[in-house]
């Protein structure tokens, strides 16, 4: 008798459990709908914004990748007009470079996130010292690997799968913290997202032109390249990524991004070490049978807002010259 009672209880418990889950899901959706707060599922707001842009954009002809240097220096609309102006059809271009997007970050970002969304024919990889320096990039890789949408492992994969259908799961970090829903945390999240929106152009390009050539910035940049050694992991990452892209019929072009004289003065071995960076990019291109474009005349201090990023006018002229060079090659 007790056995049959136990058996009859099981379906009831099951139904009750399902009912609780459904009610919680409904409550979560209502709450998130009313609160209207951003939920960060990527490693930074800019990345999250770019994913949204890419999802809306769909297929493009060309994608730019790299660090924030590539993001700022290569302006898709100008590059597209330049290529078209040189007699070719106007290509659609999206700049998918990321802040701190060194090669070990670009590899999973491009192969797992960008290609499916944009399906480009050509990938333009802007490269410079920070892409190759052993001392730079771990923090971004660390953050990337910890973000909800890019974390690896079976639990993370299952979590992402469930999050696609469940607001309760997708937004649980916000839901369990009232401060993130209605308090200062929500405001801060909105502020950070707004700042990211202000710094990302419609084609993914970086539009932060705040001048910062101060001593602290100088020290930070020096720290990223001191001691200066080539990062074997980054070089290998480039090689692997390019190999995959080429195997899929995608053309890859390396672009050597300019740095100002004030940056070159920070090399621990002096400005001559920049030649090593240039040689490395050329050698890498040779190994991988990739075209490389290096443009002269963009290294003046006054063309940069800081130690690595071009100002708006020079970014436009650099992109224009890049388009002309691409066409000629």
């Amino acid at each position: 008798m007790s056995d049959s009672s136990d058996r009859s209880l099981l379906p009831r418990f099951g139904l009750a459990f399902v009912a609780v889950v459904v009610m919680a899901e409904v409550a979560a959706r209502l709450t998130m709908g009313v609160a209207d707060v951003p939920v960060l599922r990527w490693h930074d707001e800019t990345t999250q914004l770019k994913v949204e842009q890419m999802d809306q954009r769909g297929q493009v002809d060309m994608v730019v990748i790299g660090t924030s240097m590539a993001q700022q220096d290569i302006v898709p609309s100008v590059l597209a007009d330049s290529i078209a102006g040189a007699g070719s059809p106007t290509p659609s271009i999206y700049n998918a470079a990321l802040n701190g997007g060194v090669p070990v970050v670009m590899e999973p970002w491009v192969l797992d996130q960008v290609l499916d969304r944009l399906q480009p024919d050509t990938v333009v990889w802007g490269l410079s010292t920070l892409d190759l320096s052993l001392e730079y990039g771990d923090a971004t890789l660390n953050a990337y690997e910890q973000a909800l949408e890019t974390k690896s492992g079976p639990y993370a994969a299952a979590d992402r799968w469930v999050a696609k259908v469940s607001t309760l799961m997708a937004d649980r970090r916000v839901l369990r913290d009232p401060n993130q829903l209605v308090g200062g945390g929500a405001e801060a999240n909105r502020r950070r997202l707004a700042e990211a929106e202000a710094e990302v152009g419609p084609d993914g390009e970086r539009t932060n032109f705040v001048v910062d050539t101060g001593i602290r910035q100088s020290q930070e940049i020096a720290r990223r390249i001191t001691p200066f050694q080539l990062d074997r992991d980054d070089l290998a990452s480039i090689a692997r990524t390019v190999t995959v892209l080429q195997a899929r019929g995608i053309e890859v072009i390396f672009v050597e991004l300019p740095v100002p004289d004030r940056f070159q003065a920070l090399y621990p071995g002096g400005p001559d070490q920049h030649v090593l960076v240039q040689n490395t990019i050329v050698a890498l291109a040779g190994e991988l049978e990739v075209d490389v474009i290096a443009l002269d005349g963009f290294s003046q201090d006054q063309s940069f807002i800081d130690f690595t990023h071009l100002d708006a006018a020079t970014a436009n002229s650099f992109s224009e010259s890049l388009g002309e060079a691409m066409h000629s090659e």
Partner: protein, 508 residues
């Protein structure tokens, strides 16, 4: 032409029946290309190294007693190691930078050579007397206990007199100079480490009870501490080479004096020292409690400290406090673990060469036998009110790192490994997420979720038998509970201790 398509990671993985981390993101290899490129262009390290002697050496000691040695080299070049570049050669002029930087032990003759750098004075005579005594210790070391003991006691008297003279102003222009620092190092090695011992390790072990009873252990430890202190004064350092300023020494005092078992031991940084009211936690849990916190010591140091604590009290319950600083903000590795190990090794090697004390706890050799009085289990100092200046200083230090923080992955691995060892020892491990100061939340509201997320990440790496109690979302409304960014006041400690007592027994 149709574009090549690539299934997403999850679909790719499901297609082969597993959801695996390796799915999707990378092709294998690439290092062959990397190596060929580097071979072609050349790795630049060789071009930017210089001999250390070309660099300006500065040693900074922080408030915790940890030292940071800064080498300012031309053009930011990387210094080559002294050992490879400039070995010491007897009979040739000494390079004082080399003496300071040389790894391992200095040759015994270095101390004699360095005496020639001491200005002619009464202090020089005292130091020459110490030199003669050291020679007597060397001769008797490991072979003649009575002579060795007598010489060691004499050394203690001489070292105390010399220290007094320095404290009175002698050698004011000498201490702290490269010569003074070198002499201090050499003195420490010749006395405490007995590097000139004639028969190292050959001494017949003393009977501990007898050595305590007849005063031998007290006399020799007094001499040892006096030598270490004289070494410190010559180096113009704020700590001896035996202990860090705030770390370990106070802990040894209470750990050694325990007669009854400790049920619950607290670990952590100074944050843990300030956060726990030991007596209150004992009352609330009904267990005996001790706080073995180490200021300035994150998990990389703590992992080396736990076995030391276990020698005296292997508490069945370990409560390890950590906060946003541990998990998110201060991820950069530093050389504090190496410094901790250096001093730990010095304590273990103190007078070890003689062999007389090989069966005695090294801490008893250094500090003498424990007193008969029980010292109350450790508890950190508590401030009674907020310190606005301290808060501002902390914010200035940490503010640039807020907002760009990510879980400290390598530290997480250290924590998990340490927890595993404790679990293997049969200990229950409770890692507690510390509350966040409202000022930190104002600075970076996202820190609340990030801290909770970091604890979640950590939780997934812990072994069975270790658990996390997350109190990071508590105590966020009352700034008066905080003395500065990370340390609670006395009233804050009481509130936190109550929360902790409830949580650790409520979430088990």
């Amino acid at each position: 032409m149709p574009k090549p398509s690539r299934p997403s990671s999850v679909l790719c993985c499901l297609a082969v029946g597993v959801i695996a981390a390796s799915c999707g993101s990378s092709a294998p290899g690439g290092y062959d290309v990397a190596d060929r490129v580097i071979a072609e262009v050349g790795q630049p390290a060789v071009a930017v190294t210089v001999d250390e002697s070309e660099c300006i050496r500065t040693t900074v000691v922080d408030g915790y007693g940890f030292e940071e040695e800064v080498l300012d080299c031309p053009n930011g070049a990387t210094p080559t190691t002294i050992a490879a570049a400039s070995p010491l050669v007897e009979g040739e002029p000494l390079d004082l930078d080399v003496v300071q930087a040389l790894p391992g032990e200095l040759p015994t003759w270095v101390f004699d050579e360095l005496l020639s750098t001491v200005p002619d004075s009464a202090m020089l005579e005292e130091l020459e007397g110490i030199q003669a005594t050291i020679n007597s210790i060397d001769a008797a070391c490991g072979s003649d206990f009575a002579s060795w003991r007598s010489a060691v006691v004499e050394l203690g008297d001489q070292a105390e007199r010399a220290s007094q003279q320095i404290n009175d102003g002698a050698l004011a222009d000498y201490v702290g100079t490269p010569a003074g620092r070198a002499l201090g190092r050499a003195l420490f090695e010749r006395t405490v480490l007995e590097t000139g011992c004639a028969q190292p390790g050959r001494g017949e072990p003393v009977n501990y009870d007898q050595a305590v009873g007849d005063g031998t252990l007290g006399d020799t430890s007094r001499s040892l501490l006096a030598s270490a202190e004289l070494s410190r004064l010559l180096q113009a350092a704020i700590v001896t080479d035996l202990f860090h300023f705030f770390s370990t020494l106070p802990n040894y005092e209470w750990l050694r004096s325990q007669r009854d078992p400790i049920d619950l031991v607290v670990h952590g940084t100074s944050q843990a020292g300030a956060a726990i009211d030991v007596a209150l936690l004992a009352d609330l849990t009904g267990q005996s409690v001790g706080n073995a916190f180490l200021p300035g010591s994150l998990a990389e140091v703590q992992q080396h400290w736990f076995p030391e604590v276990d020698q005296y009290i292997r508490a069945p319950r370990v409560v390890w406090l950590m906060g946003a600083i541990d998990l998110l903000i201060d991820c950069e590795p530093n050389d504090r673990p190496e410094q901790f190990l250096d001093r730990l090794e010095n304590r273990r090697r103190a007078f070890a060469n003689s062999g007389w004390f090989r069966t005695v706890d090294p801490i008893a050799v250094v500090l003498g036998p424990p007193g008969s009085q029980r010292v109350a289990p450790g508890s950190g100092d508590k401030k009674t009110a907020s310190d606005a200046a301290a808060l501002e200083a902390h914010l200035g230090e940490y503010a640039p790192r807020f907002g760009a923080s990510a879980f400290c992955v390598s530290r997480g691995e250290v924590i998990a490994a340490a927890a595993q060892r404790m679990v293997d020892n049969g200990q229950e491990v409770i890692i507690v997420g510390m509350p966040l100061n409202p000022a930190a939340i104002d600075l970076d509201p996202g820190i609340v979720a990030e801290t909770a997320g970091a604890l979640e990440t950590l939780r997934s790496t812990l072994p069975a038998g270790a658990r996390i109690v997350d109190l990071s979302a508590s105590m966020q409304s009352d700034p008066d509970r905080w003395a500065d960014l990370t340390h609670l006041t006395q009233s804050g400690a009481e509130e936190f201790t109550r929360l902790l007592a409830t949580a650790i027994d409520g979430e088990g």
